[in-house]
Amino acid sequence: MKTSTLPDAPRAGRLKKWALWIVLILVIAWSFTGMPLLQIKDNAVEVAGAMFSGLIHPDWGYVWTGDGEDLVSTLLQTIAIAFIGTFISAIISLPFAFWAANTKHKNWLVSRSGKIILTAIRTFPEIVLALMFIKAVGPGAFAGVLAVGVHSVGMLAKLFSEAIENMDGGAGESVIAAGGNRLDVTMLASFPQLLPEFVSNTLYRFELAIRSASILGIIGAGGIGTPLIFAISARAWNRVGIILLGIILMVTLVDYVSGAIRKRLV
């Protein structure tokens, strides 16, 4: 019996594949150049060990002290920053979303300019924004709220505008066919279609805002980040451990609840 061999892949395809691999390897090799990969602190292992032992022996006494600087209070403040920040950004996002949505009644240039502005907002580093707000309103959670509120617009308005673009036009046409005016179309056709989508997007953004809010404290914008950065610079690893556990628990809980609500919505 003759064993048959598989035919070779087409030559042009193979060449392209090889070229891509070579380019990729060259890019990676280039990235390694100038990287001081061996320049690691002498006591790195020691510090990592201390940190690990701090993680498994967390400072339980810090969970609740009642002075407002403890873990539970700052975690709740973090959630509050994300909550009100996301709420503000949802309100700001609405007009931006209608601006940037590329619907058929609108000039292409208008929606294009809206999209570019949203990209600019998304790219503007949140930390820089928070520092600017700290200059305006002083250090504290309020600066964090403003930073989350403005920064989230970039992504939230983009998601909103995509929901508007994907909206089914049929419902609106039926309202017009039944004798409705523009307001009826908005209230009876567009609004009921968009609302669940908007709420779902906002919840998703809230999950991300929780993560932002827990790091903005590093620069003094309130929340759990402030005690964390103090604990790291004081090398109080037991406290770092309990704060990390707290953040992981908080994010997991918020993700779970928000995910469950989102599943029921859409």
């Binding site: 990676i28 510090v47 959670a141 709220v145 997991t252």
Partner: protein, 258 residues
């Protein structure tokens, strides 16, 4: 005339509404939110913004090197994280590993990693390995691992089971199944996810330096602490251009792949 059926009383909506309002009031108090105060001080904010709108162009020559370092950090972090995530994703995919315990435990670890924000990882790794781009690369690698690992295993779980059964029937072992039945089905998705992670990493890497993890963030932090907002404006602009270019290139590559 026929009446429309009445809507059932939607108590859930009311509960949600009340929770929202109470949440807003409590949050406003806990954070000291005071919008009138913000609008009073709005001048302060616009002054900074105006300074940023007049970028210090002469500083461009100084930010090119850290910018390249940032991109290198993003590339290395993406590659290392993705390479580690690939076998891990196979380990936590239910259709590859059938042991419930193994899947459950390793998925739990992946989920825990995914909850830690990137800057927080940076703060920790700067403390461990010291100031410099190495801390940034490790941070981005772990961040990518969490993000891509989840996307990978979800892709693996949605593949067509037919080819697996076919080569299993022909006597293939686990490795052969992965090589000939799984990888050909998911490789395009994987590449697309890696590019997506790279786009996110470029954005993330620009601020990691703020905590000492290398790249342009180091210069950003320096300019901010010296109140040189004209330089900050320049760097924000440069970052914006780089992100746009990389998003465009990566988007084109992804389109070409799928």
């Amino acid at each position: 005339m026929a009446e429309l059926p009445k809507k059932p009383f939607a108590w859930q909506k009311w509960v949600l509404g009340v929770v929202m309002v109470v949440g807003l009031i409590v949050s406003a108090q806990a954070t000291g939110t005071n919008l009138p105060m913000f609008f009073q001080n709005f001048g302060q904010f616009t002054i900074i913004f105006q300074q940023m709108l007049a970028p210090d162009w002469s500083y461009t020559a100084y930010v090119i090197d850290p910018l390249i370092e940032t991109i290198k950090m993003a590339i290395l972090g993406t590659i290392i994280g993705s390479v580690l995530a690939f076998p891990y994703a196979l380990l936590v995919a239910r259709n590859i590993v059938t042991n419930k315990w193994v899947v459950g435990i390793f998925r739990f670890i992946l989920n825990v990693i995914r909850t830690i924000p990137d800057l927080l990882l940076a703060a920790i790794f700067v403390a461990i390995v010291g100031i410099g781009p190495v801390a940034g690369v490790i941070t981005l690698a772990i961040f990518t691992f969490g993000m891509v690992g989840k996307l990978f295993y979800e892709a693996v779980e949605t593949i067509d089971e037919g080819p697996i059964e076919a080569i299993k029937a022909a006597g293939a072992g686990k490795l052969e199944i992965i090589r000939f039945a799984v990888i050909p089905q998911v490789s395009n998705y994987f590449v697309s996810y890696v590019l997506y992670a790279f786009e996110i990493n470029v954005r993330a890497s620009t601020v990691l330096g703020y905590l000492g993890a290398g790249g342009i963030g180091v210069f950003l932090q320096r300019a901010l602490s010296q109140f040189r907002y004209d330089r900050v404006g320049l760097m924000v602009l440069v970052i914006f251009v780089v992100v746009l270019v990389i998003d465009y290139v990566s988007g084109k590559l992804r389109e070409a792949l799928i």
